[in-house]
Symmetry: D2
Subunit: 341 residues, 4 copies
Amino acid sequence: MRIGVLTSGGDCPGLNAVIRSVVHRGTDVHGDEIVGIEDGFLGLIEGRTRPVSHDDVTGLLTLGGTILGSARVKREKIQWAVENARTLAGNIGIDALITIGGEGTLAAARLFSDAGLPVVAVPKTIDNDIDATDVTFGFDTAVHVATEAIDRLKTTAESHQRVMVVELMGRHTGWITLTAGIAGGAHGILIPEKPFDIEALARMIEERFRRGKKFAIIAVAEGAHPVPGTLRFEHGSLDQYGHQTFGGIGNRLARELEDLLGKEARPVILGHTQRGGTPTARDRVLATRFGWHAVEAVHKGAFGHFTALRGLEVELVPIADAVTRLKTVPDERWSECDAVL
Amino acid sequence: MRIGVLTSGGDCPGLNAVIRSVVHRGTDVHGDEIVGIEDGFLGLIEGRTRPVSHDDVTGLLTLGGTILGSARVKREKIQWAVENARTLAGNIGIDALITIGGEGTLAAARLFSDAGLPVVAVPKTIDNDIDATDVTFGFDTAVHVATEAIDRLKTTAESHQRVMVVELMGRHTGWITLTAGIAGGAHGILIPEKPFDIEALARMIEERFRRGKKFAIIAVAEGAHPVPGTLRFEHGSLDQYGHQTFGGIGNRLARELEDLLGKEARPVILGHTQRGGTPTARDRVLATRFGWHAVEAVHKGAFGHFTALRGLEVELVPIADAVTRLKTVPDERWSECDAVL
Amino acid sequence: MRIGVLTSGGDCPGLNAVIRSVVHRGTDVHGDEIVGIEDGFLGLIEGRTRPVSHDDVTGLLTLGGTILGSARVKREKIQWAVENARTLAGNIGIDALITIGGEGTLAAARLFSDAGLPVVAVPKTIDNDIDATDVTFGFDTAVHVATEAIDRLKTTAESHQRVMVVELMGRHTGWITLTAGIAGGAHGILIPEKPFDIEALARMIEERFRRGKKFAIIAVAEGAHPVPGTLRFEHGSLDQYGHQTFGGIGNRLARELEDLLGKEARPVILGHTQRGGTPTARDRVLATRFGWHAVEAVHKGAFGHFTALRGLEVELVPIADAVTRLKTVPDERWSECDAVL
Amino acid sequence: MRIGVLTSGGDCPGLNAVIRSVVHRGTDVHGDEIVGIEDGFLGLIEGRTRPVSHDDVTGLLTLGGTILGSARVKREKIQWAVENARTLAGNIGIDALITIGGEGTLAAARLFSDAGLPVVAVPKTIDNDIDATDVTFGFDTAVHVATEAIDRLKTTAESHQRVMVVELMGRHTGWITLTAGIAGGAHGILIPEKPFDIEALARMIEERFRRGKKFAIIAVAEGAHPVPGTLRFEHGSLDQYGHQTFGGIGNRLARELEDLLGKEARPVILGHTQRGGTPTARDRVLATRFGWHAVEAVHKGAFGHFTALRGLEVELVPIADAVTRLKTVPDERWSECDAVL
């Protein structure tokens, strides 16, 4: 078969590992031809493809990023592509399509599938917020990078008797912050699912100081927000370029805590270092398994499904199940933070 | 309550993180006193304990090893201790015991529990071979270390057009080797569950050379063994000190492949570097969760159970379920290696 | 002898390693008593000390930060302390003092030395801007952290065809940025020593795009500044809290480049992750050697000197030589960037 | 100019970084053509070359190994090549040759240079035993890997109250073992330059135990050897395959110490992991600088020289100076170990 593969959405460690796995399994076992589609759905629309052979994927396992590129496509253009799905597939001569991407890509994959294009999807998000799979690749790497940073910040905070506020990725869900916060031994964890009370946070830190500890690390998700009315500084706004780092939650929180505690507080915004670079061993394995199962799904004709990890097994789940709701941090999991911090 | 805690068995990244979590949750939330028992069951027998406070566990999250120590105790001594379980517990004044250890420790925990000592167990093994939990802490760290090593060996193998044989831990199960082998992109993976045929392995490598690749990495578990009669060198034996590294499978395999292929083959035995040092973020979180749930189990009176990860949740499982069989690599999982290597 | 030791100034990986080395060499070989002075010169003034024994420094080699703490002391207070140097030393009963700190600490050490206090100084700065020593500990670690970050950002930049601007430490000198920029393969390097022309930078990036490269990494020192009049956005100012991350050079540069190039440009501000955490092997060794030589200097009576690496040897250099001028990146070194980027 | 470049000898992190730097500097600034010669001098002899362009070296900075390959050539073949140096150079059409390699390569480079071939050499050895340069690239990476391993082994040794013997690279010199031993906080360091007395070593460890420490780490260079007559086990010999890991010094030492101390002792042989994989930041920079200066040397006509780091500067030194003697660990440096361990 001729199987198209595309990557779409933000960078995520493991994308290349999926591509490599698709090529290995497809070409070596099934004799498939793998057609790499450049820059996500844009390449599908514009017919920009190239064959991807076994040699082309040498060294990809450890390489972050995606050799196929990824570009944003406007909603209306996707809509147009869906309406012309069969023609576009015909133009590049593919029998099936494997899409690797996040929520938006899954939604698009579903539309293409409904439009008659044989699609298998591989989910991707460093945020780990797709409900139908236990975990996505990229997440473990993001947590690894964030945890290493917290490890490093701790000694500085302690030596200088400071509060350090570390802003981590997660606009809508707190998985990275919760996980790296626990792994790094943060003393406060603020996530979008649980609006925070800055006064209560300050009191907790003060209580910690009273017990003789001289520093504190606060991990905050970029999407965390205060209980309305409790952060005294006016809300910062995105600038004309949409840059979030100007006046983001990390910066504002550090300023506020410095004011409330009368102690030095410093923000650190990890930013894009969390979503690039070589994947952890765990992410490499998960990406490789997802690629393997995606090819098998194609050959079984399990279209309209995506690969999901459930417990120890990779299963095929209808794409529809993925896009219904965001996986947020549940109360029971949140309660496990209590007194382990 | 006064809760005793002990660590037993081989070193495993995350032991200290469990102790820290038990102390944080126990003392801060429940007002427990945590009694550290030194050198595993030996300390229980000899009454060697020390209180472990919140301050005592500062910095433990990132520290490998166990501050409580761990020592081997002979089977008959354990038997004697079980018969005197209540007295021993009385001597050190504990109301409940949390044991952190592997298969042997779980078996002992069960005996103590049956003898009337209120025990909750936390499973530990870098080998990941306990069937009742999806995964154990320590495993991810071992895989991480092994994968980094394979990453480094690859460039040397390639530059010198060599075969590299990397011997990884796993006497009875192949989880570390399978996982690190896939994560590192090994070209051959040999595990105890699947006796290997050295001639077939050599042919596979030769086929690889024919396709223009000039090197190969073979990941072999220390407990991997050939199909009987297929390794021509006589089987090495443990020396008087029981040291396995003299003539272990990695060394023998490299010699044999060099002979069969007429190419340089070099063994690397990773050894104990796989089981020490700072835990990965994932292992820290799992260890922390296990400690948290162990304390909760004590307060719920869920004795005779151990903490297990199932999917995303930590559950309490009867210890009896843990000790019935080893979790080996199943056929379906093994087949996922096919052509992803 | 009773030797006091203090750490002063910002956090720097290797401070603890120096303390450990001083204790090992002093107590084990010379039978010294080591007196730890808390929070830098503040502890000297306030008489806050504690004995530091061999056991107290166990594990310090790998630990970032300083177990003695570090606090800022106002200039007039230092002046007062200098005038009362002998009394203060008498109060805590020390025969000699080893100071570990940066430029300011060296200047203070010189004053104390001139005032008759027997002082040996160990230089410390992650910025590597002390002229009299080839290199200082902490620098290699900062470069290591910065390089790892650039490595991670590269794949994201490439996948998304973006410009990434990485702001690194260095207010007055460009050593970290130059070194990590070369090590990470940055495509532009901006340092305080060389005012940059934003238009020329943009043209260089455009030329790169024309050659088919689709991304660029720009490493910029926090103290880099444009040729006057060439950055069109008005100069940001420090806010009331003195936080530099609001509107720092990294953010402004990204905005400007986005505007000039019509391409996505994203800033990443590494911040304090560069100055904390476990030291690299090289920094551990240098810190250990400095501690060793500082003790020897005390016993040789080489007061008023500091430890300096010159080539392969640690030498003792008059403190006066250290404080005369900043070591900036010389022209010949800067020219080595040409076309290796 | 047409400049040939070849890599020769064992793998060493930074080889690719030199090649990249030569290409960047040569093609972008001087308009040179860079001719990659495959498999070291073998490729020169057999006329196997390929052009290496700017695009060909993309991504090489972080990649261990050498894209040009490296193969051993017999001495007589080198001799033949030297005699036919001009013809061989003419065959592949090069005006100058840059060789990247260790002691043997430098010796060969000198012969070719004397025979009239314009050669500039870049020194390479992870062992750091070339006297005419302060340090060589690859060394810092080897030390980094070895130090990380010692860090990991420490917690295991401590938890199990064991002696761990870590065998590191270094047949003739102890630089890696000395440096990683100090960086890792080893308690004993054995190097080829200083024959060791096993009884004295055992007494030192016993003394350590008496002081309450319950474990010890011994770093031993593969070429370390006992004072004649002091190791009771008969000396192991290389087997028919020349494999050194069978019965090497690490294994024998662990056995002996176990016997002498009556304590568990375990060997770990790091082996080839020390010489492969991505270079540290420091090695990337040094390799890049060497490549840059090698090209400049060619254009200055400074043939018969090699690049050397002296203090902070890269200088050009006559190759003859490099090959006269091995840089061994001098007494003063060795004495710095005293009581810092």
